[in-house]
């Protein structure tokens, strides 16, 4: 039993200080004082144990509530790695653009002159080959739409409606006037028809609509992420929505935000699968 005089001299530790002590948030000096007090005071020790017990109960409840929902890390990890690689590449591209936009020490006129001289000296044959590579690179860069021009647009539709009609019957060719509008919007009015498919960003069988905000010129010749790959994603999302594995809004959101990332996410791969698969 605590002697009377000592008991009277002891002030019980305030609740907040006990909590901070349990969390290791007291100063070293105060932590020592609280420790000494707890050794002597059963009341405060009992209160401290209650705090620990409450924390334990909460942490277990917190994990019990959310842990069962956590998917395996492998897919998101692979997706992040691919996105980081893309982002790194983008940042490098922007750096080169910055050379021209933000005042590289060499005057811009001088840069233009040097480039013109270099092209002239290399001859037409080389230029043609270079131009071919440049075009190919341009096509690659258009694998994803310009989001400010093509954010995606949907029509009011239910899952039952989109799943009651086979995918092939929903897809319609974009009208010629609309096709020309889209090409003009993207500044490639003279593009050859065989180079681009005017594609729906959100496919009609996912509720997408023929609206200029939902259409963009998707290159066929892109080496990796081309129109055929996107078609496979659309089919996959349609199947998932109709089988109840994915809600329609998420499918629309994911394909409109970044269809390449959506492909990686839903096919669990970093590169397009062979078309037969």
């Amino acid at each position: 039993m605590v002697p009377k005089d000592l008991h009277l001299s002891m002030h019980h530790i305030p609740e907040g200080e006990l909590v901070r002590s349990a969390d290791g948030e007291l100063s070293p000096q105060r932590a020592r004082e609280v420790g000494s007090h707890l050794e002597a005071c059963w009341d405060c020790r009992a209160r401290m144990e209650e705090i620990h017990s409450t924390i334990t109960g909460f942490v277990r409840a917190h994990h019990a509530e959310f842990d069962p929902q956590l998917p395996p890390v492998a897919g998101p990890r692979a997706l992040l790695r691919a996105r980081l690689t893309e982002l790194d590449s983008e940042l490098r591209t922007h750096w080169w653009k910055g050379v021209f936009q933000f005042g590289f020490p060499l005057p811009r006129v001088a840069i233009v002159c040097l480039v013109a001289m270099a092209i002239g000296s290399l001859g037409l044959g080389y230029y043609s080959r270079r131009n071919l590579r440049f075009t190919s690179g341009l096509l690659d860069s258009q694998a994803a739409p310009n989001r400010s021009l093509t954010p995606g647009a949907t029509r009011p539709v239910t899952v039952t409606e989109i799943c009651s009609v086979p995918h092939e019957e929903v897809v319609e060719d974009v009208s010629v006037p609309m096709r020309q509008m889209v090409l003009r919007e993207y500044g490639i009015s003279n593009a050859r028809p065989e180079d681009y498919e005017i594609d729906y960003l959100i496919a009609p069988h996912l509720g997408g609509t023929e609206d200029i905000r939902n259409l963009w010129p998707e290159p066929y010749r892109t080496r990796v992420w081309n129109a055929h790959v996107k078609d496979a994603l659309e089919e996959r999302l349609h199947q998932m929505v109709c089988s109840g594995k994915l809600d329609l809004l998420t499918a629309q959101h994911d394909i409109a935000t970044d269809w390449i990332a959506a492909y990686k996410k839903y096919f669990h791969t970093n590169k397009p699968l062979p078309r037969s698969s």
């Binding site: 901070r20 705090i51 959310f66 980081l84 998420t250 994911d254």
Partner: protein, 190 residues
């Protein structure tokens, strides 16, 4: 986590390395932090009312932002707090966009009311699962900021990191946690 992975010194930028080597190094750092914090950040995002799909997307955005942050040579101090702060902000933004939170909290409040101040007898009979359900309901009935403090503390953040993540003072974090634990203890029949 190896403590050094969040240590300023371990992130010291090597000015002599090439930009590609630096980018590769940052990618490795980001992936290491992803491995360590993904589950905690995901749990926290879920606790803010996001669907698992939205929460996963938020976490992806957080680590892409971290890559940009490090790539630009910005502060490496308290990256753990930085990760939770950005997750918190992006998750709330996403939640606002979804506009689902009102329904969720309304439902939770009803559940919490049913569980408030329970009689001690039946409480003693509760199984672990029932106790979890009960505590979860009580937590959801707490003021939102108190819930955030509690969840962040459960994910291992120190008071200072919670204060940074939520834009609160250190004292406010301490008071919030004390208040929440007292309320949980009362609801738990202690």
């Amino acid at each position: 986590m190896p403590p050094s992975s969040l240590d300023d010194a371990s992130f010291a930028v090597h000015s002599t390395e090439s930009s590609s080597a630096q980018a590769s190094r940052i990618q490795v750092e980001v992936m290491e932090l992803f491995d360590e914090f993904r589950d905690r950040l995901l749990r926290y995002s879920l606790s803010l009312g996001l669907s698992i799909q939205d929460a996963e997307e938020v976490i992806q955005e957080v680590f892409l932002a971290l890559f940009r942050h490090l790539h630009l040579g910005r502060s490496r101090k308290n990256l753990r707090g930085w990760l939770f702060r950005v997750t918190h902000n992006l998750a709330l933004k996403q939640r606002l966009a979804n506009q689902t939170f009102v329904q969720r909290t309304a439902g939770d409040a009803r559940v919490a009311e049913e569980h408030a101040d329970p009689a001690p007898g039946p409480e003693e009979q509760m199984s672990a699962a029932q106790r979890h359900d009960h505590l979860q309901a009580v937590v959801r009935a707490l003021p939102e900021n108190d819930q955030h403090c509690l969840r962040l503390r459960a994910e291992g953040l120190r008071y200072r990191e919670i204060a940074t993540a939520l834009g609160m003072s250190l004292g406010a974090v301490s008071i919030s946690l004390t208040r929440s634990l007292a309320r949980l203890a009362r609801a738990d029949g202690r």
